[in-house]
Amino acid sequence: MKRFEPFAIALFAALLAVAPLFLNTYQVDVLNSIGLYALLALSLNLILGEAGLFNMGHAAFYAIGAYTAAILNTRYQVPILWTLPLSGLIAGLFALAVARPVVHLRGDYLLIVTIGVGEIVRIALVNDVFGLTGGANGIFGISRPKLFGFVIRQPQEFYYLIWGFVALTIFLFLRIKRSRFGRALNYLREDEVAAEGSGINTDYYKLAAFGLGAAWAGMAGTLFAAKMTIISPESFSFWESVVLFMIVILGGAGSIAGILLAAFLVIGLPELFREFAGARMLVFGLVMMVMMVVRPQGLLPARGR
């Protein structure tokens, strides 16, 4: 099984690379959505999967990235892709600021607090905080991204931007996974007392997980804003956070391959069965319950657990 893994990955990458040549615009658009959710779920995975910190307010960091990009672009005419580092930075700093006082809270308390933070951010956006966010209507007129003088407009073009970023993310996150930093997050997840007792500054790594995961979600937000050209608070509701949480858990916490698979299933499948779209969440709820009994480690667990 192990021997076939490189081939499977190469085949998957090759299929993704040529997919737009064979698919219609709508199908490519679905793949773009999957890519964005995969990106967000990978960023949440650092916090939830690797470090074991129950974060159910991830949409807040995503929103802050998207709004930072949109505000900079529409008010100050900063080219949208140039805002990437800054929206990542601001989302990351916001996460550090909110996580700092609460990060020591035990599992499900942290979960509730992050839900609260997510809601406060959404309410703030709806209420046009600082007169910057445009209230319930959001921000429109975000300009198209430009890359080396080439304007990205078609879904096919966005496809390569989004999945290119996904590929880069996987490349970097794999490096993190196999490093001192990645291991420290795993120690936290496995046993916080033992981690601290082995000389690891657990508070620091909890914050670092939040900061890095949020920064990445913020950058995904920029891509989202660039793709949509219009953003509003309803794109960043509690249910977005739930869907992301679900992707990470269904795929297998800590497993990059599992998260990609789960993103395809959770975002892609409902598009295939559009006549049952209303029952989408119902099925998800049921799947979550059944999975926890039958296969709590996820579809493709990180290791043969």
Partner: protein, 301 residues
């Protein structure tokens, strides 16, 4: 002053509803150390069941307002309790020995499932309680006019809380619940059937939560299939505020949160009303995670 008292009584009415829901969270947390995420949805079921029974059986027409509502309350309590027991059996019992995360995910799954079942049955739009059944009278307290419905809500929630308090403090079964909340294995050794206690908690909590849902329907006149999660979050905040696992704490926390919210909406900003409760939640967890009436417990290493 008039405005202040109107807000205060309104806050107490909403707070009473929060408190009734909070009791369900706090009782389950006390015994299982689990946040029952689906509890808010059982509250919504209470509201919808109440609406369906009220309109289809025409209870108030046949039995008169007081008796009709009383029968309705009992029916909603019974049905919500049955749903609670089914929920416990389906979503939580299989995961009793699993890691926390599994139980949390299952609870969330149950919540999503319940909510969307309701949506598929009733549709996504607001459902309206018939306004011709409800009393619109106002009461005159020394020149202060209070809606009758508001007064009834406050009274009903206080009566129910008092009844629960007596049940927990004075009966054998209540003592068993308290014992299981303190130390499950010790309670088991003392001959308490912990499984029965858990089942009981999942009967009583949802029964109270279901009535709270009915109250919201009667008080505001309209209900929505997603309202359970926002009410649930606020009730959970109330439970934390009072000290999770602590039954009087949930009552105090609920009433307090209702008043804080009403005052915040009136004197700060109505648009930020929902954010106020979440700010209270975060503040209390930072400043005093054991809540107002909770006791500090040392972590075992």
């Amino acid at each position: 002053m008039e405005e202040f008292i109107q807000q205060l009584t309104n806050g107490l009415a909403v707070g009473g509803i929060y408190a009734l829901i909070a009791l369900g969270y706090t009782m389950v947390y006390g015994v299982l150390k689990l946040i029952n995420f689906a509890h808010g949805d059982l509250f919504t079921y209470g509201a919808y069941l109440g609406l369906t029974l009220l309109t289809s059986l025409a209870l108030t027409d046949r039995l008169g307002f007081v008796l009709g509502i009383a029968v309705l309350v009992l029916m909603v309590m019974g049905l919500a309790a049955v749903l609670g027991a089914i929920l416990e059996r389906a979503a939580y019992r299989p995961l009793r020995e699993s890691p926390r995360l599994s139980a949390v995910v299952s609870a969330l799954g149950a919540s999503i499932f319940l909510q969307n079942t309701l949506m598929l049955i009733y549709g996504a739009r607001f459902q309206v309680y018939p306004d011709d059944i409800l009393p619109t009278a106002t009461l005159n307290f020394f020149g202060l006019y209070l809606p009758l419905m508001r007064v009834l809500i406050v009274l009903a929630s206080v009566v129910m809380m008092a009844a629960l308090y007596l049940f927990i403090q004075k009966t054998r079964i209540g003592t068993a619940i308290r014992a299981a909340a303190i130390d499950q294995s010790a309670a088991r050794l003392m001959g308490i059937d912990v499984n029965r206690v858990i089942l009981l908690v999942f009967l009583v909590g949802p029964a109270l939560g279901g009535v709270a849902g009915l109250m919201v329907g009667l008080y505001y006149g309209q209900v929505n299939f997603t309202m359970g999660w926002i009410y649930g979050m606020k009730a959970f905040t109330a439970a934390i505020l009072g000290g999770i696992g602590n039954i009087p704490g949930a009552m105090v926390g609920g009433l307090l949160l209702g008043v804080i919210e009403a005052m915040g909406a009136a004197y700060i900003s109505i648009a930020w009303k929902d954010a106020i409760a979440f700010c209270v939640l975060i503040l209390i967890l930072i400043v005093r995670p054991t809540g107002l009436l909770g006791e500090r417990v040392a972590d075992k290493i």
